[in-house]
Amino acid sequence: MKTITIDPITRLEGHGKISIFLDGKGDVENAYLQIPELRGFERFAQGRRAEDMPQITSRICGVCPVAHHFASTKALDAAFNVDPPSAAKKLRELMYCGYFIYDHILHFYYLGGPDFVVGPDAPAAKRNVLGVIEKAGVDIGKEVIKHRAYGQKITAILGGKATHPVCGLPGGVSKGLNKDEVKDIEKMTKSCIEFAKFSLKLFGDIVLANKGYVDLILSDPYQLKTYNMGLVDKNNKVNFYDGKIRVTDQQGKEKVKFDVKDYTKHVAEHVEEWTYIKFPYLKSIGWNGMTDGKDSGIYRVGPLGRLNAAEGMATPLADKEYKKMFETLGGKAVNSTLAFHWARLIELLYATERAMELIKDPEITSTKIRNPVGKPGEGIGVTEAARGTLIHHYKLDKNGLIDKANLIVATTNNSGAINMSIRDAAKGIIKKGKVNDGLLNMVEMAFRAYDPCFACATHTLPGGMPLEVNIYNSERKLYKTLRQNV
């Protein structure tokens, strides 16, 4: 491949802007997704009171406030050298389940699911949640809204506020649960379990029963043989809130398992000159460009990454579904990008079952929810955001003010893989310079599966999911542009 050094599009960060480079024959050589990276966080954080970080970082992203809130709170636990009481950990995890419930429901029914439920060939105007409801029925729509709201309500009861939680403190949480709240959460959770089961059945009936869809899932453009990463508990089962970071290889075998405090020993970040986004990779393997396979240190996180990196789910129904997925898709590891959607629903079921275990735990109403903090120092915290592993790393000065702060967010962990998935989808559809109109759809499906979160929180005009694909010929001259909603 020719190296691109100076390029007209260098550092042109935009929402969903994709550049595709063709070779001399007009076939795809490479493709890059450019997403806006928020800058200046370290400087912004410096000198602030450490205990403000869970509130500040929950505002970084309108999508994952809960994940940032707890990655930050856990970094503070470590920085203040305090282990929260077991009841506080359970309350945090319960709240975390609420977040997964609403987040995964939103993604499946509103964002990723329409491609499958309505069909990848359906016109763009139909591939949305209204199309899903047209196909599945209005009653389903009501259930979707209801259960998404339940997830949010569970989060709000525990977090104190609907969108931006205020409960996480170093050493514990600020608020426990009373008996009425327990009853309320239990009732909602029970309903959520049924809804998660239903969602998997819907996926089975509409997607898995259709050979065309299964073939699409297993088709070449959507295969990527990377390493996988996710948090696991002591039995190597998926955990969203706590545990060790486990990395498995392309056959599902453990490559390494480590404590988050050692992440810098295992993960490095590669920098490309055309983007501010960094590309994390496994140090022991090394950076080998935008390639997959065992010699490339690129790994994937998120629902499929987590399921691949674990040996099962810690709750019975989800574990059954876990086994079914791997059996259906040919064993470990599942390398099909579109299987992210299936994995997401299995995680939804796990989140509901785990929430039920936690709410029924007698300790959940305990009032011992905070331990006193020690002296300020350095701390690293990790959680699984809905879209993948999220790490907060702070260094505090002797007064408990932030001296240094670094975040590795989920979408960054996936950045190498997302670029390759887009490239491969484009390869499948651009041949000898001929660009098919289905390109935007295929490319969008490739990166939607990761549920990437392009940091930004405002409204822009005009709207819709903005996507611009610029195709450059072998002389790096703009050859064609395809746009939607730009």
């Binding site: 806006p36 309108g62 999508v63 729509g141 939607r448 409204h459 822009t460 709207g463």
Partner: protein, 160 residues
């Protein structure tokens, strides 16, 4: 008539947070049991849920346009947006959310939804709490426009 004024944006992302700055200023000016003033660092579905049950909603937000003058303030009825999205792929647009809610028989959607938009060419991607000078100058304009939007619903004794 129950009205909600929502400042939308992210106050740790410079100019993006202008809507929050505007509602903070409004909080000091308005005291009325019929008017709710809130911040919302959110979009789409969550935004809709905050609006439900009010007769009228006024959304104050940064609006990115191709041709607009930085710092210009415009009153835009929601119907005039062909689509409006919350600028991240993990959500639906407010308009999509409203359409869906209507289809589900939701009856609590405000009859009137007005956007007071502070126009800007670029939404910042750098952390900071301060507004740029042009956008800061737009805050009083947006405050006045919101007050006149409230107009007849606001008697003099509601203003402090």
């Amino acid at each position: 008539m129950k009205t909600i004024i929502l400042g939308v944006g992210n106050q740790i992302l410079g100019d993006d947070g202008v809507g929050i700055h505007v509602v903070n200023a409004l909080k000091e000016k308005i005291q009325s049991p019929d008017i709710t003033i809130e911040e919302a660092v959110t979009g789409g579905m969550n935004l809709l849920e905050l609006l439900l049950g009010y007769d009228k909603a006024i959304i104050v937000d940064a609006v990115k346009t191709e041709n607009g003058v930085n710092g210009e303030v415009k009153r835009i009825p929601l119907g005039n947006f062909s689509t409006m999205h919350s600028c991240n792929p993990h959500d639906v647009s407010l308009i999509e959310a409203i359409e869906m809610a209507k289809k589900m028989g939701e009856e609590r959607i405000p009859k009137e939804i007005i956007v007071i938009g502070v126009l800007m060419k670029e939404i910042p991607c750098e952390f900071g709490e301060k507004l740029s000078s042009k956008i800061a100058a737009a805050v009083p304009k947006a405050v006045d426009m919101t007050l006149s939007e409230l107009g007849k619903n606001l008697s003099k004794n509601n203003l402090t």
